[in-house]
């Protein structure tokens, strides 16, 4: 006996269904239209290129969700709930269409055996997943997961959808006096349990389940764009339109507007930046990865994104504001200045974000506005003034840049006067910091002993501008870049080598080489190659256990993980990885101009101290190897402040290579 579920309410059922459908879709549609209207008020940005790569990225990260599986407890449950949603959403629409247009010659989805089978299987899988998700929220919630009522309410709604499906199936079997252990495995179990229910009542109950299911979905439709589950609609687009260039790219494509002055209000953010908040699922992965958050600085990447979302919805959708209504300022009231200055631009939030939000470029956009207003910390101001005048953050004369060459007794070519294969772009820290002078000289000796044909720009070199750019001083970055390009134009070289990952990043990715074929390489890449070519005579086999710290701008920004590891291996050292290594590496706290800022009072511990404690916990590892001049400064300091002097030593990879060459 077949009977349409809509007949529960008699012939009026179809009318009721039409009414509810129009109402729900109307409210849903209106809200979505409004939200799209908000995005359209943002600045333009071309994210409509590279369709092939975008589709591939979408397929991987929306359909397979590898970034969700990086947290084991919730990866599989989320995956199952997502696919359950896809199945149920399809069947809901099918079911609705059939209900609204009773004359259609098609069955209801659950009347198709194979569909019914999958609906039941997924109902149970999703219920199991919901149980895990609820338990996770209740008993072992990771820090920074937003434990909102909203989330629990949505989990309950999904649960209700699954239960109505299973019970609907069970009651229908009872009403039909049939059993289908194969196609309705779980409905069949329920049918056995409720076998005593009279057929007529069972039919009514099965129809009631159908109605309840439809009502819950329609309610969900209305509720969804007001809840954190908006991510379900927005994040697929967010993933699709995410930057397909380099991670952490600061450029804005497809616009002639001047973005150097940053954003002072939400309408000056790009539409894609506005979409971030709607896509955020409040999972807290970014906060858990953020070194600023862990150290107790006033920054939580998740909050940054959420604050903007709440702000735009309130400011943009609350109807006409009263004449005297005060719209809070985006920077200063919605988001504090301290929050923005806390970011080290280490990229670990972006590397982790499951919906591919772009927090670091957002921070830089907002910082640019502060710089435009001159609202910059005193110490940073001094650095910027130094960089403007002398081209280095140390406030020393540009003529002193290569002073270390004189005292080293080495003869190093001037690339402006004679052609070289490698132009060594030394960078500020390696040039000026007295703590690094010896390492810089050692690096030079290694290069010379390997017969590397290299030279310097001497006093013509300027700070490459990586951190200046990330502080938000776009104009100064442009100026430094121009000066360096002028110096490059006067020099003859094929490749650039640098020891500083920050310099490496900006030279490699943010300087226009216009097909000059100039290759920018990190010294670990060059050392690795020299060893492989047998050009470095490693006379002494080193022994012992060491750990290696991946610099953010070498690793996460540029994916250089293996060359330094191969060098360590070639030296004979046993590499013991810290728990957080490669793309999970933990920032030393110096990036994004943080090295120029005063310590924030009242923080828990500095990021570098946290990192040193991590390394110190490794059994019998006395050496902490770095491949970044700033890391030497940061970690040698942290060794002292954490009391690990004598137990753990920070060494530059060049120092170890030099040791093996003796």
């Amino acid at each position: 006996m077949k009977s349409d579920p809509v007949t529960l309410l008699g012939p009026a059922g179809v009318g009721v269904l039409w009414l509810l459908t129009l109402l729900a879709f109307g409210i849903f549609g209106r809200r979505i239209w409004q939200l799209i209207g908000l995005l359209r008020q943002g600045r333009p940005e071309n994210r409509f290129d590279q369709w092939g790569r975008r589709v591939a990225h979408f397929l991987k990260h929306v359909l397979l969700q590898p970034r969700l599986f990086n947290e084991r407890s919730i990866g599989a449950p989320h995956f199952l709930i997502f696919w359950g949603f896809v199945l149920y959403a399809t069947c809901f629409n099918w079911s609705l269409l059939r209900g609204l247009l009773p004359f259609l010659p098609i069955p209801y989805p659950d009347e198709v055996k194979i569909v019914s089978f999958f609906l039941e299987i997924f109902a149970v899988l999703v219920l199991g997943s919901l149980l895990v998700a609820t338990m996770r929220r209740a008993f072992f919630a990771p820090p920074h997961l937003h434990l909102s009522l909203d989330a629990n309410f949505i989990l309950s709604l999904i649960g209700l959808l699954m239960l109505t499906t299973l019970f609907g199936s069970g009651f229908r079997l009872v009403a039909e006096g049939a059993r289908a252990p194969g196609w309705s495995p779980f409905g069949n179990v329920l049918a056995e349990l409720f076998a005593d229910v009279p057929a007529a009542s069972a039919l009514k109950l099965s129809q009631a389940m159908w109605w309840l299911h439809m009502l819950v979905v329609l309610f969900f439709l209305v509720y969804l764009p007001y809840s954190k589950h908006m991510h379900l609609l927005a994040s697929p687009f967010n993933v699709f339109f995410s930057n397909r260039g380099r991670l952490g790219d600061l450029s804005v494509q497809g616009t002639t507007e001047d973005f150097g002055s940053g954003a002072s209000q939400w309408k000056e953010l790009t539409w894609k930046q506005l979409l971030s908040g709607l896509s955020c699922a409040e999972c807290g992965r970014c906060d858990r990865a953020c070194p600023a958050t862990a150290s107790g600085y006033p920054l939580e990447p998740q909050q940054l994104i959420q604050k903007i979302k709440k702000h735009i919805v309130k400011a943009g959708l609350s109807g006409k504001p009263a004449a005297d209504a005060h719209e809070p300022k985006l920077i200063g009231e919605v988001i504090s200045e301290a929050e923005l200055w806390s970011c080290t631009t280490c990229l670990s939030c972006m590397e982790r974000c499951a919906v591919w939000n772009e927090q670091v470029p957002l921070v830089v956009t907002l910082r640019r506005h502060l710089v435009t207003q001159g609202a910059v910390d005193r110490t940073v101001q001094d650095m910027l003034a130094n960089l403007t005048r002398y081209g280095n953050s140390f406030g020393k004369s540009d003529r002193m840049r290569a002073k270390w060459v004189q005292s080293s007794g080495l003869k190093i070519k001037d690339a402006r006067k004679e052609a070289v294969e490698y132009l060594w772009f030394v960078g500020d820290y390696a040039s000026y910091d007295p703590r690094l002078e010896e390492i810089t000289k050692q690096t030079a000796r290694i290069f010379q002993q390997a017969g590397l044909d290299f030279g310097l720009l001497y006093e013509a070199e300027r700070n490459a501008g990586n951190d200046v750019r990330r502080v938000g001083e776009e104009g100064l970055f442009e100026m430094l870049k121009e000066k360096n390009l002028q110096a490059f134009a006067k020099a003859k070289f094929k490749m650039i080598v640098t020891t500083d990952p920050h310099t490496y990043n900006t030279l490699k990715n943010e300087y226009p080489w216009n097909g000059d074929g100039v290759q920018v390489r990190h010294y670990t890449e060059v050392l690795d190659e020299l060893i492989q070519q047998g050009r470095l005579s490693l006379k002494k086999k080193l022994t012992g256990r060491v750990t290696y710290h991946d610099p953010c701008y070498l690793g996460r920004y540029n994916g250089v993980y293996d060359p330094p590891r191969r060098v360590l291996q070639a030296l004979g050292l046993e590499l013991v990885e810290m728990p957080r290594h490669r793309h999970r590496s933990y920032c030393c706290g110096a990036g994004g101009g943080r090295i120029w800022m005063e310590d924030t009072p009242g923080i828990k511990e500095r990021p570098a101290e946290n990192r040193i404690r991590e390394a110190a916990a490794l059994p019998e590892v006395p050496t902490f190897v770095v491949a970044c001049p700033k890391d030497i400064a940061m970690f040698r300091d942290a060794i002292k402040t954490t009391g690990h002097e004598g137990k753990l030593a920070v060494k530059d990879i060049a120092e170890l290579v030099a040791e093996a060459m003796e």
């Binding site: 101001q381 776009e474 104009g475």
Partner: protein
Amino acid sequence: MNLFVLLKMVPDTVEELNVAPDSPALDAEFLRFKLSDPGEQALEQALLLKEKHGGTVTVVALDAPEVDEVLFTALAKGATRAVKIGGDWSRLQSFAAGQILAAFLKAAGSALSADALVLLRSQAIDDLEGEIGPYLADELGVPYADVVTGVTVTGNSMSIIKEFAGGLRGEFTLPLPAVLGIQSAEKPPRYVPIAKVRAALKSAKIETVDVAPPARLARFALERMYKPEAGGRAQMLEGSPEAVADKLVEVLVQQGLI
């Protein structure tokens, strides 16, 4: 308000300073010039007053190497006009400088209006006497105060904070117009982003004016310039703490101190 800021360029001590071999002057080879720090403070104080009371800020400088950059930066920070007084002023001394600037300000007319205030650095690293302020005020016939760290204007008079030795501060009331030598502004000098300086370079202009130079640019001749000569020498005591203590006692006895 009619605010005037007189900016002075000084040698940048970040670069190596050497005495020229042939004349009593600094060796020009590595010499670079920058705005004197108190000059930067004077500009900031003027910009703060402009923000509070409205009006104009005119920055004025005698021609010198790298002075254009400083004037454009001042425009980018919010100065209304920038004026460069043309000429070769490398041998200029304070008295004549006061005369030149006074001549410019008198010609500008508004400098002596009831709401005019002329601000300049109270000192500079190559002019510790800071005599130019008093000379200028005298030429203009208006009051002068220096080592000023705060200015509050009410109507046609102002109250200023002046610093004295030993951390003492004094509050004075002065009528306008006046000349003030600024030690520090009420707030640290603002940062001006390079983009704004570049925009000023494109859109703003520096006015160059000529002022008839006074009869004598210098009133006294500089005979010799030299680096400080080392006086007494420090003696390092080396060895174990006990040995160092013994040697120290010996020295003190020798000197008749114990």
